[in-house]
């Protein structure tokens, strides 16, 4: 299948789904004077500056511990990759413009005005070398949530048109086509029809009413369509009333990665409105880490009121089904280790659900040395996996993950995030590794007890 977008063509036959390597790159968007760009960056940065972020900005004691747990510093030894340093221009701007002593800093020019050149120089620190995995948050003795500050910095960068080419292009695609990676409503419809034919399953699309609104990641639609079949099998077994809706199915939110707040809100509203339209009591998010962050924890705040339905990640829904006796599973005869997606576990709190599912599958679970909230990132989060120029660095960080998995001696590697999964696929191909990351969802679908079928 060819891409429907000729402006930023997709790379569909690679282990990682992204837009093709851009030649030339445009890492600076829009035409504007430097002063305007700078002004936009700062306004974008401080727009949502609440007491929490300000408190963080005031609290750093420059101890450097964040560097010691960051995959980029640990693997390179380059102090530029110190997590709090990634915010330096924005810290300066905060002290100069927003902080309690800002007039004093301005009066004596104690903090220089940041320049556009500095922001450009910082682009690779704010995007290419931060997956917003939040490991630094866990070590900070002051408790500063550095990952959330990087999110704010990205708001500033996006407002100023300083987003890495691929990430920006992906967001552009999402806005134009309704999907960042080619899974447009028409493509989804085709895929579903084809999967129904091929696998003899029913995949409801655009039902008027349903208890459950199912959402999907375009990575799954384009690269792991078997996931959709797995979903259909499981939902049928659980006897659920569910549907996809063509006006709100795309769970990825690349705008959030890029820092485009408007785009982030629009993407979330599509899902929220679709769920309300079908009268859903539950909205299920797919195996996608940042989708969980975007909708489960930020969705209601962008919507402006509490959501009138539950938001569950698919592993949580599976665990619930197992608890309620709706899902009976055949034992998996292997040992497995579980890779915790940062946005679902460390920053999302759904730590136990995937483990409950693995337990129900009877796997011999061999946890990695650092797991759960202390897990190492796969290296592909935060939009990093889309950025071609970040590849060499990403492979370096990926080596930590490979080593962690190897050290467990487990036969299988399971996760519940398709973005992690494609990062694993890409790393596996690069290092000719013998381990393939598997989807927890597909593992469950493959081990449903067969008696009723």
């Amino acid at each position: 299948m060819t891409s429907t977008d000729t402006q930023f063509p997709l790379e569909l036959n690679q282990p990682r789904l992204s837009i093709q390597k851009p030649e030339p790159r445009y890492d600076k968007q829009g035409e504007m004077a430097d002063t305007e760009r700078l002004d936009r960056a700062m306004r974008g940065f401080v727009k949502d500056f609440g007491a929490t972020a300000a408190l963080y900005m005031e609290s750093c004691v420059h101890c450097g511990q964040c560097a010691e747990v960051c995959q980029y510093y640990v693997q390179t030894g380059d102090p530029r990759y110190t997590p709090i340093w990634k915010l330096e221009p924005f810290k300066q701007a905060y002290k100069r413009e927003v902080g309690p002593f800002a007039p004093f800093f301005r009066l004596f020019n104690l903090k220089r005005r940041v320049t556009v050149q500095e922001l450009e120089d910082w682009q690779d620190l704010i995007y290419d070398s931060c997956t917003q995995c939040g490991r630094c948050t866990m070590v900070c003795p002051m408790g500063i949530d550095i990952a959330s500050l990087v999110g704010l910095a990205r708001h500033g960068m996006a407002a100023a048109g300083l987003v890495p080419h691929e990430l920006w292009a992906t967001v552009e695609r999402a806005k134009r086509e309704g999907s960042p990676l080619g899974a447009t409503p028409a493509v989804l419809k085709d895929r579903i029809a084809w999967l129904e034919d091929e696998h003899g399953v029913e995949i409801p699309l655009d039902r008027e009413r349903a208890d459950v609104l199912m959402t999907i990641s375009s990575i799954e639609v384009m690269k792991y369509p078997q996931s959709i079949v797995a979903l259909a099998r499981i939902m049928k077994r659980m006897g659920a009333s569910w549907t996809f809706r063509s006006e709100g199915y795309e769970a990825t939110n690349f705008s959030m990665f890029a820092g485009d707040q408007q785009g982030q809100r629009e993407a979330s509203l599509k899902l929220i409105e679709a769920a309300i339209a079908v009268g859903a009591r539950t909205l299920i998010l797919p195996e996608c880490g940042h989708a969980y962050q975007a909708l489960r924890w930020q969705g209601a705040n962008l919507y402006g009121k509490p959501l009138p339905f539950r938001v569950l990640q698919i592993a949580e829904y599976l665990a619930e089904g197992i608890r309620q006796g709706k899902l009976q599973l055949q034992p998996v005869q292997n040992s497995a280790t579980f890779h915790d997606p940062c946005q679902i576990v460390r920053r999302g709190g759904a730590t136990e659900a995937p483990r409950e599912v693995l337990h129900a599958l009877g796997v011999d679970l061999r946890e990695m040395d650092a797991h759960g909230a202390y897990n190492w990132c796969c290296g592909g989060g935060g939009g990093v996996v889309t950025i071609h120029r970040a590849d060499p660095l990403r492979y370096k960080t990926y080596q930590i993950k490979m080593q962690q998995v190897e050290d467990t001696g487990a036969e299988m590697l399971v996760s519940t995030c398709s973005n992690c999964r494609q990062t694993f696929d890409d790393g596996q191909a690069h290092f000719h590794w013998d381990k393939t990351a598997q989807s927890l969802l597909e593992l469950v679908a493959d081990h449903l007890v067969t008696e009723q079928e």
Partner: protein, 221 residues
């Protein structure tokens, strides 16, 4: 009356008062300046009720690094602990300090033997020197350090040093040394709210906030 005792009187009187006023108002200004900013209510459905309890818990649990992080940070964390602990002993354990605190706040407690205090002061000085060397040589710390880090270091180091000098009558008349010691400590108090040293208060808030946010999500803090 000699000029030397004038200096001591100044240190004990107006300088102390000024330092305390700057300390209190500066800290108040900094905290208010932050806390008056927007604090939008989180509308997402919490996984855990009473998440603020998790915030309180995090204030304590962040006192020591998690097992997973220790191999790379524990050694310098330990030095930092030695410094903080010995400094606390010196500030809160020396009888003249307690008397001063009693005069200001009305609170008092028994002091520690001066032998313990001088030992603790020596340990604090040595650990401070080690931490300075670490800051000046480690690539990460060199990268992220600024004037605040080094000046704050100096302002903590000086009262410790001058305090010991006064105690041992080294380098001058006792009254002079005491006056210099007090003035240096007052400079420290006046500098505190504007510098990284405000972490003495801010850590409660920043740990508490993150602990609450993450607890609300059912995540570990």
């Amino acid at each position: 009356m000699s000029t030397e005792t004038d200096l001591l009187d100044f240190a004990r009187g107006p300088a102390l008062e000024a330092a305390l006023i700057i300390l209190v108002f500066g800290m108040f200004w900094r905290l208010v300046g932050v806390l008056v900013l927007r604090r939008p209510r989180d509308l997402s459905e919490p996984r855990v009720r009473h998440a603020w309890l998790g915030g309180i818990r995090t204030i304590f649990t962040r006192m020591w690094p998690r097992r997973e992080f220790r191999p790379r940070i524990l050694h310098w964390e330990a030095v930092s602990y030695v410094f903080h602990f010995s400094l606390a002993l010196v500030i809160l354990g020396l009888l003249p300090h307690i008397l001063l605190i009693r005069d200001i706040t009305g609170l008092s407690w028994p002091g520690l033997p001066t032998g313990v205090i001088t030992f603790a002061a020596g340990v604090a000085l040595i650990s401070l020197l080690a931490l300075l060397a670490h800051r000046a040589t480690h690539p990460v710390l060199r990268q992220i350090s600024n004037f605040d880090d080094y000046f704050s270091w100096l302002l903590v180091f000086t009262p410790l040093l001058t305090g010991l000098m006064a105690y041992y009558h080294l380098g001058g008349r006792y009254e002079d040394l005491l006056a210099v010691h007090m003035l240096s400590a007052e400079l420290l108090l006046a500098w505190l709210p504007f510098s990284k040293l405000a972490h003495t208060v801010l850590f409660l808030f920043s740990r508490g906030v993150t602990g609450t946010i993450y607890s609300r999500r059912g995540a570990q803090t």
